[in-house]
Symmetry: C2
Subunit: 440 residues, 2 copies
């Protein structure tokens, strides 16, 4: 019989990966909760009519379609798997608008599916962690998202830089150089600034039909330097003739003022080359990168003024960000930031000697678990070597042994598997201090 396998582009998450992933998700979820965000889950399947036309032609092609069941099997598919969490969120808000209390602060942590060609770091099933406020135009929301980014990555131990830009600034730039209708081309080109340099960007713009004069007028903007405050001050001059551009400057100044007032401990900087692909952003745009690990953006998002318009509910502004769990995982693994396995799963294993010793151990287990310590007993009185090997391979940091001597003394021999040291302790000591290991 052939060994079974799973579809390409999908993954099993075994215990070690799951324990680490759970650590990431729990950390993010706790920050969301502390900031008053509420959980939402939507079904894996959506009606195809909800999904198609929302992600462009490419997206439509990458939707996983589900065969109709029973007699409808030959008819065109009516359902598809969720492609992201944003469209289902918009659908939910429109469908439940009468029950929802606005401003609606929701988070959603669920897998999505894309029929992409599988490759390194790209999967057909992966989790998204989205957090949004919808129904409020206040820029305090943007600042709170920045604060949450700082809090999540500080808890995870990842040093990051948060880059901020604003679609209104980009629109203002397109306007003042005389190509208001070509904002997308211009932002795509600016986005490449880091990768291909100013000269190549200029060449590309001209190739795309932007006039040389306009490209010339773009130069001082591409060359802006200094602090964020200095850049914004310079932009105020450059964008003086664009109402949209000036609105963008004011938004950015407010957001930076809030972030400063909040005392957010995070490198936050204005980056005009930040464009992000998604067309629905209308205000601030965020992107977070790890300082000490090269991997691209690990978190990003922005303000959108008409997300729910696609489902017939206009004028509902929102802002949100999404944490990239897979990349955060890779960064943490690469930098050795995960707590040791032993501190996250079973802390103590009792050797099973059978008979009265087994019953004694079972009673100690109950005390440890009561104290919140994950503990287990090897399920049969196998050879001690075998039991110790199990504990070793599982990465269990402490092994407890209680034979007749220990039972008579009301104590337990506790072996620290990392140092090999053994000592006698009471159950009480085990539950309160002997098995404690510092989180890395």
């Amino acid at each position: 019989m052939q060994k079974p396998s799973i579809p390409k582009g999908t993954r099993d998450f075994g215990p070690v990966e799951m324990t680490r992933r759970t650590y990431i998700f729990d950390t993010i979820r706790e920050v969301f909760r502390l900031h008053g965000f509420l959980p939402l889950e939507t079904p894996a399947m959506e009606n195809l009519s909800t999904l198609t036309g929302k992600y462009g032609e490419e997206g439509d092609r990458l939707l996983f379609r589900i065969q109709n069941s029973g007699e409808q099997a030959d008819k065109p598919a009516e359902k598809g798997l969720r492609y992201d969490l944003t469209v289902p969120f918009a659908r939910y808000v429109v469908q439940h608008q009468s029950e929802i209390v606005f401003p609606f602060r929701r988070y959603q942590i669920q897998p999505v599916w894309r029929a992409d060609r599988p490759q390194k770091g790209r999967y057909r099933e992966f989790y998204q962690c989205d957090v949004d406020v919808i129904g409020s135009r206040s820029l305090l929301n943007e600042a709170e998202l920045v604060q949450m980014v700082a809090s999540v990555f500080s808890r995870l131990g990842i040093r990051v830089t948060l880059k901020l830009n604003n679609r209104k600034l980009l629109a203002g730039i397109a306007e003042v150089i005389g190509h208001a209708d070509r904002m997308t081309d211009i932002t795509v080109a600016i986005d490449k600034l880091d990768k291909i340099g100013a000269q190549a960007v200029a060449a590309e713009l001209i190739e795309r039909g932007i006039t040389p004069q306009a490209v010339e007028r773009l130069q001082p903007i591409l060359a802006l330097s200094g602090t964020t405050a200095e850049k914004l001050a310079a932009l105020r001059g450059i964008l003086a003739s664009s109402a949209t551009g000036l609105a963008g400057i004011e938004e950015m100044e407010s957001i930076f003022a809030y972030v400063h007032a909040l005392g957010v401990e995070l490198d936050v900087e204005l980056d005009l080359s930040l464009a992000r692909g998604l067309n629905y952003y209308t205000g601030a745009i965020f992107e977070v990168k790890a300082k000490d690990w090269e991997i691209g953006s690990i978190c990003g998002g922005g303000r959108y003024d008409d997300l729910t318009g696609i489902f017939g509910m206009p004028d509902t502004s929102g802002v949100g960000i999404s944490f990239g769990a897979d990349r955060i995982y890779d960064v943490m693994l690469g930098l050795g930031l995960f707590p040791s396995e032993g501190s996250m799963s079973t802390r103590v294993m009792f050797v099973n000697f059978g008979g009265a010793e087994e019953l004694f151990a079972l009673r100690q287990l109950a005390v440890l678990r009561q104290a919140g310590i994950a503990a287990e007993i090897y399920p049969e009185s196998a050879k001690i070597k075998k039991q110790m090997e199990y504990a070793g391979r599982r990465g269990i940091p402490f092994v407890a042994m209680a034979g007749s001597d220990e039972i008579a003394a009301g104590k337990i021999t506790l072996k620290d598997m990392r140092t090999g040291e053994q000592r006698m302790v009471t159950t009480e000591e085990m539950a309160t201090q002997a098995c404690v290991i510092p989180n890395t």
Copy 2:
């Protein structure tokens, strides 16, 4: 434009439901963790060859099939959505047998999909919570599962009865009444004992071709009464001629002895009418019912000796149970057992007065969150009435107000939304005691 909707048989879980569901899942997960079980997640899609033929003809029909993408779209589907967590678990164990440390204690909490006709309480997407030990024949595993059942339901506040039976007892009974080959018919009939009574069961058995003499011989078994110990003692006589039956009795005696020694505070009883549909159980069978709410089984499972045999890995015994999250949810809702919403999500909302007051409030928020208290500020300085309405509709129990007087005094006016009482407190008091509400 038509309001968007979701496919029939699927559900959105809004904030209130999600907060409650998360409470259930977190409780179950914490008990799993304390007992040394490790998390596993498998992909939503499995190869169809993994899924088909595992759930009977009916099951095959109820599998959701996924259309191939791209050029393969017209060819027969190759992938299907997970139908339960058991088959993917078996597939995982076989596929990863060389890396797994046995005995393998794993839990898995994920949704499954079935193309069932949607009806009240039956959905096309629902979560399963499975916990299994595989690679150990020790009956201590059964006892630990019983202990975990007790712990989960005690933490959730649900009073339950756990019924235990054993496939070997049922096989022994079939053997001694002379119909060893008809165990399934006999157990199906016994299973109906509670619903249709002994007489109708006898009639049904005769209709199914069981001889009247055999049905007669079954009577003392159906009529067994007394304590579990008394029943087992009586069965020892009745099943004296069946080696399998006697093995079943010994297993049950061991399990009950362990449960007794563990001091499990739970009503655990032998129930010979418990058969459960799944054919792969070979030893103990479990079923849990709520005492105070009529809804059928809310948890169940059993011992299987050949789960992985379907994938070519024989002789690997395991035992596991599954918690029914949807029914547990209904029981808790029906009995009013969920903690109050306010104790699970945002505890305090600051009224937003704008300007310096807003900044003052933002600093207090940071302190509360640092102390683990979920807190938020209304994102704009809207009319107070509107802000209070938001807090009321959200079920936020405390509203904090800090105007210039409060700021001067370094205090905050805290309003208890349930009683209407207002008092002045320090941030410190808020973080440590003023916002504490007892669970339930």
